[in-house]
């Protein structure tokens, strides 16, 4: 949307210059005011259905307006003129540009939206968009049809005329529809491929795999014995054979995770902070931990996960590894998603499965998860030093220095090991040979703009 942007020297003020030829699908020009309107709409406490509003809290005055009764006029976003948008941030935020790609930051057409709350509920004339494709029809839970937008500023680049999206719940069914030629694309990020099909898809070379910015982990409840002891946590984290899980169960060439931040953001994390499946060291940690706790032998512990085929398989494998490597009885407990979140949130677990997929492409998105107890941090672990480093990173304007600070924080985190990372996610998908230039980003986004079908 923006043709160019300027950043002030203190990194606090961003000025975006929107392109002149950007128009909405009803012909209106896309203006800076549309952005201002959309962002302030999200931050208005009267609009409750905005559970992602916190993504905007890096903007000056945003959190105050949304949560503390601050004035919405104080929010640091302003349309200077028709095509110039000025954004003032609360702190220099090196990843702000990454954030603006997040959908909470998208503009809406003020003229259409104002006073028409239901403009986007169904495909009607008020469904005004400004992307490379227009929505043609939307049958709820069934099918979406996209058509090329002839008025798009870069319409010459767009080659696809129509995109049909089918909503199929069952992974096997969509795979079969793909095999039958009814679909040109199946799998991540819009769907996933059935576990049992992966080996044969790999064998015939049709499977595509790319890294994804996400981490699959087991959270320890650091308030419950025995996981209040750091050596016990380490013992459990080290006694997992991640490579084995990836080779035999998930099979999507995920990367074994011995760190918090995925390798697609920090390449050096392929090494990690410890060795995978390090049984010797795990047993040493176990012995030290037991001594510190004054225990002869570990009591039976429970491992919780929300119900899903892959989670169940991984949990059973880990259960067996802990039983064999540490000699501990592990009982599994699976729960339906809503009940599971409730148990995790109320600390009613010992070890529980969790995952995080990045909202934007920056390490801070992972590190700040564990800044304080509550929210997405179920471990009950917090550290003053860790939190201090995060705050320090927010004002650091030099990229290298900032990374150094964040890596220091990650090192503290891994030293205390409130979670046992298992693997960094990957995207796995199938596409027909004639589908060209359709790539999955590490954030799990598909861009259809440049896609074309070869004859």
């Amino acid at each position: 949307m923006a043709e160019t942007y300027d950043v002030s020297d203190d990194l606090l003020t961003y000025t975006f210059h929107l392109r002149e030829d950007a128009v909405w699908s009803n012909g209106d020009p896309v203006t800076a005011g549309d952005f201002e309107y959309a962002w302030k709409w999200v931050l208005n406490p009267d609009n409750a259905d905005t559970d992602y509003a916190y993504q905007m809290y890096v903007i000056k005055g945003a959190q105050a307006a949304k949560e503390e009764g601050g004035s919405i006029d104080e929010v640091g976003v302003k349309a200077i003129d028709e095509k110039t948008l000025e954004v003032v941030l609360a702190q220099p935020t090196p990843y702000f540009l990454d954030l603006t790609a997040f959908y909470t930051y998208y503009p809406v057409n003020q003229k259409v939206v104002e006073g028409a709350d239901d403009w986007a509920l169904n495909v009607t004339d008020t469904y005004v968009t400004n992307g490379p494709f227009l929505i043609e029809s939307w049958k709820h839970k069934d099918q979406i049809v996209l058509k090329k937008n002839a008025d798009y500023w870069d319409a010459d680049t767009v080659k696809l005329e129509t995109i049909n999206m089918y909503m199929i719940d069952d992974e096997n069914t969509s795979l079969e529809m793909f095999n039958n030629g009814e679909l040109d694309w199946a799998g991540d990020p819009t769907d996933s491929l059935p576990l049992s099909a992966i080996p044969s898809l790999k064998a015939d070379g049709s499977l595509n795999i790319s890294p994804k910015a996400g981490v699959y982990y087991y959270a320890f409840n650091t308030e419950k014995e025995p996981f209040n002891n750091v050596n016990i946590r380490k013992a459990f984290a080290l006694a997992i054979n991640r490579e084995g899980i990836i080779q035999s169960i998930t099979q999507r060439e995920e990367i074994p995770a011995m760190a918090l931040v995925p390798t697609s953001i920090w390449e050096e994390n392929a090494e990690g902070y410890f060795k995978d499946n390090d049984l010797e060291t795990a047993k040493e940690y176990l012995a030290t931990g037991l001594e510190e706790l004054g225990l002869e032998k570990l009591p039976a512990i429970s491992l919780s996960y929300n119900t899903a085929e892959a989670h169940a398989a991984i949990a059973q494998a880990v259960q067996d590894m802990w039983r064999q490597n540490l000699g501990v009885e592990v009982t599994l407990s699976n729960e339906e998603w809503n009940v599971y979140l409730d148990s995790m949130g109320s600390g009613n677990f010992q070890v529980g499965r969790m995952g995080w997929i990045a909202d934007f492409n920056d390490a801070i998105n992972f590190i700040e998860l564990f800044q304080s107890v509550g929210g997405n941090n179920y471990t009950n672990w917090e550290s003053e030093e860790y939190s201090k480093l995060i705050e320090q990173s927010r004002t650091e304007t030099d990229p290298d220095a900032r990374k150094g600070i964040l890596r220091q924080a990650e090192a503290i985190f891994m030293e205390d090991m409130p979670i046992a990372p298992i693997y960094f996610y990957s995207n796995a998908w199938l596409s027909k040979d004639y589908v060209k230039d359709l790539e999955v980003s590490p954030l799990g986004e598909l861009q259809f703009k440049w896609v074309y079908l070869a004859e």
Partner: protein
């Protein structure tokens, strides 16, 4: 020769209730004997009993004789076809399917039989009472059943899990909480139809009590539909258990039942059909056996065929 004088004291009055005097004696003892005699002659039904016994023996012995357990992972030997070491092959974590099948049999057979038994007791009593007395009693009993049937079942089970501990009994409660309703409806319909038959009227005019009519006439004459419903309860319990496992109720992994084994193996149907084949075949075999036994019992107990 002395004539023995018979005095009044030598005689004892025969204590006989009016109702018993008019009873057609001998019926009740020979009914069961007779039924058993006819059941024994039914080769198919005996065959069914042999299959059930065999499955029961395997359920107990199968695990130990396989030389494997149900939980040990061999990730490198995952998804193997049947072989000399793994008679039924291995699953996605390299566990022995033969051993898992028989540990699963214990659970599935237990769940199926318990659920069927409880449904039978509650359903028959509930339905018979409603159908026999009719009127207000019928309304109250059947409306309670309707309300239970109308409330979202999943919510009931989720709440049960919050209140009760996570074990097999909770699972059985979850399955029987609405499971008996079908049985009750069918029995009620039968009883309503039968109660106007001539032989019931005859029995009533001979002074038989309500419970006696229910016990001796109405329920035996409804046995056919009762047995059929009962044999359906078993597989539906086995599969309800696997459907409910996503709530975390019932057996916890790595222990598996036939139901969870089949539903876990279903996505892999095209690639590793053996993982679905074995539990499914044993479910079918069990059902076949129970059905031929049920048919044999029906034929043997049919009061009209005597």
């Amino acid at each position: 020769m002395e004539h023995r004088q018979l005095k009044e004291i030598d005689f004892e009055p025969l204590h006989l209730k009016q109702s018993e005097a008019e009873k057609i004696v001998g019926e009740s003892t020979s009914y069961w004997k007779d039924a058993w005699r006819r059941f024994r002659k039914n080769k198919l039904a005996l065959f069914g009993i042999i299959i059930i016994l065999l499955l029961a023996v395997l359920a107990i012995m199968g695990g130990p004789i396989s030389g494997h357990n149900y939980y040990e992972n061999q990730l490198l030997e995952a998804n193997q076809p049947p072989s000399g070491t793994h008679w039924f092959g291995t699953d996605n974590l390299g566990r022995d399917v033969f051993a898992r099948t028989w540990y699963g049999a214990q659970i599935s057979l237990f769940i199926g039989l318990m659920a069927a038994l409880i449904d039978l007791i509650i359903g028959v009593i509930w339905g018979a009472v409603a159908g026999f007395f009719g009127g207000k009693v019928d309304e109250i009993l059947m409306r309670i059943a309707d309300v239970l049937y109308g409330v979202p079942y999943l919510l009931v089970v989720i709440l049960l899990l919050v209140v009760l501990p996570q074990n097999l009994w909770t699972l059985i409660i979850a399955m029987t909480i609405t499971g008996w309703i079908n049985m009750a409806r069918i029995v009620r319909g039968q009883v309503m139809q039968l109660r106007s038959e001539e032989f019931i009227m005859a029995s009533r005019s001979l002074g038989a009590s309500n419970t006696r009519i229910l016990r001796k006439h109405l329920i035996p004459n409804s046995l056919g539909p009762i047995l059929v419903t009962l044999t359906l309860t078993i597989p539906s319990a086995i599969f309800t258990e696997s459907f409910l496992s996503f709530l975390g109720i019932g057996v916890q992994a790595p222990l598996a039942s036939w139901g969870t084994m089949s539903s876990d193996a279903l996505p892999a149907l095209q690639y590793y059909p053996n993982q679905l084949f074995f539990p499914a075949v044993f479910i079918c075999l069990t059902m076949l056996a129970f059905n031929v036994i049920g048919d044999g019992m029906r034929d043997a107990l049919d009061p009209n065929e005597r």
